[in-house]
């Protein structure tokens, strides 16, 4: 098997030997569609959950502290300020997640793109969201860590942050470090590796 014709012959003979695949019935198709819709929803919800879990922890913490210390104006204002700062970030994040998971084929009148444009589009959408997420992490993580440290020290440490500036700073640094390490691992899995892979395909297509 050394010539192009021989390769073609082997391929065709191989196909002829394989039994024709069974046709799909309307019921089979409906089964596949329902299971894919469920899977797609699960993927999106897992991603949304992973993206906002940190914020849910923060909101729960602030709500709990706010109710528990009802009447203590300083604590209540701190909790409200934290929540007010975070709501726009959560809304922006959820909107971006929606854009990331809205497939281009869902746009009315759109046609199926060729492989080059499909890969290019996937890359652009993922890179755009990753850029946004990185920016949000750089703002949101230090601010949320600061709020948590501030509230915790005010509630449980005598003298608060003002009385224990070094300890406050150390806990803040530790918290930020742990959060950034976890975020980096998650980003690598969900964004950096897939983006690198998509880039390889694009390079292959561009270097023809």
């Amino acid at each position: 098997m050394a010539t192009s014709n021989e390769i073609g012959d082997v391929w065709k003979e191989g196909k002829a030997c394989v039994a024709s695949p069974a046709p799909l019935s309307a019921k089979d198709l409906q089964g596949i569609i329902s299971s894919r819709v469920r899977k797609e929803l699960k993927t999106v919800s897992q991603f949304v959950w992973a993206a906002i879990v940190y914020q849910i922890i923060l909101y729960s913490f602030l709500a709990h502290t706010f109710i528990r210390h009802w009447g203590d104006m300083r604590i209540m204002l701190l909790c409200l300020a934290g929540a007010a700062f975070y709501v726009p970030l959560t809304v922006a994040l959820l909107r971006r997640v929606g854009t990331l998971y809205r497939r281009p084929s869902e746009a009315p009148g759109s046609t199926v793109p060729d492989v080059f444009h499909k890969v290019e589009g996937e890359y652009a959408r993922l890179a755009d969201f990753f850029q946004f997420k990185k920016r949000m992490d750089w703002i949101g993580v230090p601010v949320s860590c600061a709020i948590i440290v501030l509230v915790t020290f005010t509630l449980f440490v005598k003298g608060g942050v003002e009385g224990n500036p070094l300890a406050g700073l150390a806990v803040f640094a530790l918290w930020v470090g742990m959060s950034l390490t976890a975020i980096h691992a998650e980003n690598k899995k969900r964004f950096i590796s897939p983006l690198r892979n998509l880039e390889q395909v694009l390079d292959d297509l561009k270097n023809s």
Binding site: M1, A2, T3, S4, I7, G8, V10, W11, K12, E13, G14, K15, C17, S20, P21, P23, L24, S25, A26, L29, I32, I33, S35, R36, V37, R103, S105, E106, G109, S110, T111, V112, P113, D114, V115, F116, H117, K118, V119, E122, L126, K189, R190, S193, P194, N197, L198, Q200, V201, D204, L205, S208
Partner: protein
């Protein structure tokens, strides 16, 4: 999707369903679970995109486009690396140098050779072996006709080298 559109979709789909199996087999040859997953995802993408299919190209060309888009982006967006793929299909016995290869073994070797190509080269050779002309290959991949012809020469040479080195 309206009942009428769904009926025409099923007829067209079943006439060309081998395309999806062929694409899945080419890209996920050794992982039956992943192959089934991509097969189902392709069916879903075809079903979602069908109302936009206006018949500007052949149904088979459109189907190749959707199937290849799904397969390539699935591999590339997957968090799993190809190295993690478990071998769920046994590799047939490779014949001794003096033994004459059967057609089945030759086909297996050809699939092995295709597996060494890049994702885009796999798409090009698959379309070529499935008798798609240069214009159709170009419209599916997004490359120019000239690029397709140049790359096909390179791919065929790479396959020949692999096959000669393994016979």
């Amino acid at each position: 999707m309206h009942a009428e559109t769904e009926t025409s979709f099923l007829i067209n789909l079943n006439q060309n369903i081998g395309i999806v199996h062929q694409v899945c087999h080419t890209y996920f040859r050794r992982d039956a679970a992943e192959r089934e997953d991509v097969f189902q995802d392709t069916m879903y993408q075809l079903w979602k995109s069908y109302p936009q299919f206006k018949g500007e190209s052949k149904f088979s060309t459109w189907m190749y486009k959707v199937a290849l888009n799904t397969a390539i982006t699935h591999i590339r967006r997957s968090t799993r690396t190809p190295r993690n793929e478990e071998l769920t299909e046994p590799i047939p016995h490779r014949p001794d140098i003096n033994e004459r290869m059967s057609r089945e073994e030759e086909l297996h070797l050809l699939h092995e050779a295709i597996a060494t190509l890049t994702d885009i080269d796999k798409a090009i050779i698959l379309l070529h072996l499935e008798d798609q002309n240069y214009d159709e290959i170009a419209s599916v991949t997004g490359l120019t006709r000239t690029n397709v012809s140049v790359r096909l020469v390179r791919i065929k040479q790479a396959l020949k080298d692999y096959l000669q080195g393994n016979q």
